[in-house]
Amino acid sequence: MANITKKVSWSSRGDESGAAGEETPLLNGSEQSRPLRQMSSGSTVFQIGRLSTVDLDEEITTEEQDSARGRPKEIPHNEKLLSLKFESLDYDNIENQLFLEEERRMSFVAFRCLEISRWVICGLIGFLTGLIACFIDIAVEQLAGLKYKLIKENIVKFTEAGGLSISLLLWVALNSFCVMWGSIIVAFIEPIAAGSGIPQIKCFLNGVKVPRVVRLKTLVVKVVGVIFSVVGGLAVGKEGPMIHSGAVLAAGVSQGRSTSLKKDFKIFEYFRRDTEKRDFVSAGAAAGVSAAFGAPVAGGVLFSLEEGASFWNQMLTWRIFFASMISTFTLNFFLSIYHNKPGELSNPGLINFGRFESEAMEYNLYEIPLFIAMGAIGGGLGAFFNFLNYWLTIFRIRYVHRPCLQVMEAMLVAAVTATVAFIMIYFSTDCQPLGPDHTEEYPLQLFCADGEYNSMATAFFNTPERSVRSLFHNPTGTYNSLTLGLFTLTYFFLACWTYGLAVSAGVFIPSLLIGAAWGRLCGILLASTTSTVMWADPGKYALIGAAAQLGGIVRMTLSLTVIMVEATGNVTYGLPIMLVLMTAKIVGDYFQEGLYDLHIKLGSVPFLHWEAPATSHWLTAREVMSSPVTCLNRIEKVGTIVDTLSNTSTNHNGFPVVVQVSGDDEVLFDLATDKNAWCKILHSCI
């Protein structure tokens, strides 16, 4: 019964036992405390309470050892640590005199105006998110087009004359150059912008104040970084960074001021509270999802509901939906202008899966068990992906922690991606005649006959979104099994290696691509085994495979189902996708956690799940409280307060204020919360 909780031996600091109200020994500078303060700038972590049953004797011995050493242990990083630098957002309003007076002053009309301004802000958030998504899309298209054009001309020139290794070097150089810039800005300017951004936003919406995650500097670094990553040919997507950008925009716009620019626009001052900020950040994240996938319902309501907000109400739902709608509409509108077809609103999201026509893509009842099997495969592969990525991330945290090393690693990954792609294209003998509709932008002929094109190149020599589209929609016979098999294998390991680098990059599109590839492979194999029964398009199986793989990696069920349904524009596929995602989640959860949850754990963030860990309900508060309690008197010296606040081992945010009534009795007088306010006041005093 008590096996999950092991009582740890407390290291006693004899100096800390002083009762409240006396001169705290800290100020006298007892030896043990100074090293603490010096190390407060580094990363200090708590070991989460692992209570163990030990005898009293053992306890004493350990105590002696600890007090003799007088220094905290150092251990290599693992996932069971929690970092002390995280604080929680303050959702409670500070109801002091000033606040109550201001509330009294507000009239009914003022409250109405507030309500309207909330809606206005949500609309503005949606609009700006759509604009940013538009900007990212256009920039990527232009730059990637330029890069592929250059490489293609080079390859064509060197195919006849020989010397294709020069093309390889050119491709490697271009990739590394782009990724170098993307990685430099992330590693040196704003490390919090690395990765997808979804784990950080999840933590923020859970109530953990992840520092610097919603700053303007983060936004700029993220947007520019994602453009460079995608243009640099890495196995990444731009959807995760889009969500993060939406959240940052929301936080910035709703507060009416910018910390990075050090400007205060003196508007929206009522909303400069963590409660309101959290609501707007939910709206921003939802607008980001909706712009990324063209899925306002999924983005608006379901993603935030599933991943984010811990407190939900109806008005918030409506406002979030409003923000998502505005976001996808803005994106659609501006992209249609860019494509010279103003008003033709056919690009609702950054990723466009294309429309699946109903007649060609019907599924039958006997295919449902097949889909479930594919879901199980997706779950297993996803768990494997997470497992590899977990160990890789631990290695990176422990050994590759200097910024220049991170930049070098990113450049190496880009180089290897280019090399692998080139080798696959070079040695592939799969040639297909190109149809008249020219779905490929940069068809590579290489060593094929005239009028035919290398079909491996259609998978590799493209941005990942286009590859996904062609896997979904290209007619039967465009890819053969060997091509797809090799592509799945190499891309799986490339994507696993790429996630976690110091670049801003998402993991949605690579997982969709891996899944689409092996899904299509399944479809082709099924069609070849039974020649009598008419199987439909392998594109359908590609869609199911993509959903299975994505579900296996990120383990989102509800929002992902609706995202896929909305992105493909076909509700017919709702049932199979839902079954597949549930199967993938069940199978994957048996082996390993979802990718974002793993990274949250590895980031040492104190994330609170919906429910307490199982079999921990019997724990009493006394067993997890600090003791002795750090309290303050009604009248206290500034030095005491400073020391209490700066003591890293008692990193509390609020302190009880006690009054000594008679003798030893102490009565709780008040609770002093909001450490930040105190720190600011003290800074101005000292």
Partner: protein, 308 residues
């Protein structure tokens, strides 16, 4: 004598009544089976003479066609147009079929298409022909089938799909200058192929590369300008198939060795990087801080606390 006259007249009247009765019967059945008062025009007769031979079935049905009064038939002018349309239609199709493989429809059959479309334009124009009739309604839109419209529509679609407009002159008389130049190049290439076909294919690959390359470049240029019609596409396709598949003259596989060397070097770099960072970097350690907890005694006491 007057009695005979009256008898004859009476006989004639009876006969007329009888025939009129038949005509009426025929008319009634005809109008029952027809939705519109206007029926399909009769090709055979322009006059609407009544013929009374109801016994024979086939002739009955043929007679159905020619049994309408003057005002519901199409005019002479429109019938003439229709006949002309038929003639030109047959001429065009007779030109198309022999030119189907290898595709030469644009070069050979453009004049025929021009004359056919002229006739159709005439039929479908809004102008009134002689006699103040509009042929459009009577020929094109009088029945559910709309046969003439459908037939012409098919041919027009074929013309559009073949993209012939790109490689013939504006008056559709024949191929334009670009097409002629292309055809010259094509001719050169084919003659070159013919010359060296018998011997070693490598000989052919070496000698015919120049005309083939010119042809290819011209084709790529035209492809960029989108001035290609099906004739050119098909001829290029056949030539390419000959070149690559039959004669096997595609690009050589080049040097594989440098490519392999460069790629192995690239693939080796990360291993070196990770090994060196593992061995030389300082492992990042975390400093552990133990929280001060209440000195609760061992679990036995806890259990006792709970039970008491």
């Amino acid at each position: 004598m007057s009695l005979h006259r009256y008898e004859l007249g009476f006989l004639l009247i009876i006969l007329n009544i009888y025939s009129l009765g038949l005509i009426d019967a025929v008319n009634v059945t005809a109008s029952d089976s027809a939705a519109n008062p206007l029926q399909a025009p009769s090709y055979q007769s322009h006059s609407s003479s009544a013929v009374y031979k109801p016994a024979v079935d086939s002739s009955y049905s043929i007679n159905l066609l020619s049994s309408f009064p003057e005002d519901v038939e199409i005019s002479e002018y429109c019938s003439e147009m229709l006949r002309l349309f038929g003639q030109r239609y047959v001429a065009y199709v007779n030109c198309l079929i022999p030119a189907a493989r290898p595709v030469r429809v644009c070069q050979n059959c453009s004049p025929e298409y021009k004359s056919l479309s002229d006739v159709f334009l005439n039929i479908s124009s809004d102008q009134m022909g002689p006699g103040n009739v509009s042929c459009r309604d009577s020929i094109l839109r009088s029945d559910r089938l709309m046969l003439v419209f459908l037939l012409y529509g098919n041919l027009a679609t074929i013309w559009e799909k073949s993209n012939c407009k790109q490689c013939v002159t504006t008056d559709l008389k024949g191929p334009n200058n670009d097409t002629l130049y292309y055809l010259t190049l094509l001719n050169q290439t084919i003659t070159c192929f013919e010359k060296y076909k018998e011997g070693n294919h490598t000989e052919l690959c070496k000698s015919c590369i120049l005309p083939y390359k010119d042809l290819n470049d011209m084709y790529s240029g035209m492809e960029k300008n989108s001035t290609l019609c099906i004739d050119l596409e098909d001829s290029m396709n056949m030539t390419r198939k000959l070149w690559s598949k039959n004669f096997g003259c595609s690009y050589p596989h080049g040097e594989t060795i440098p490519v392999i060397a460069v790629s192995s070097f690239m693939l080796f770099l990360p291993i070196i990087f990770y090994l060196s960072s593992f061995l030389h970097s300082e492992q990042k350690k975390r400093k552990l801080i133990h929280p001060k907890r209440a000195k609760s005694h061992n679990s036995l006491m806890n259990i006792q606390d709970k039970q008491s």
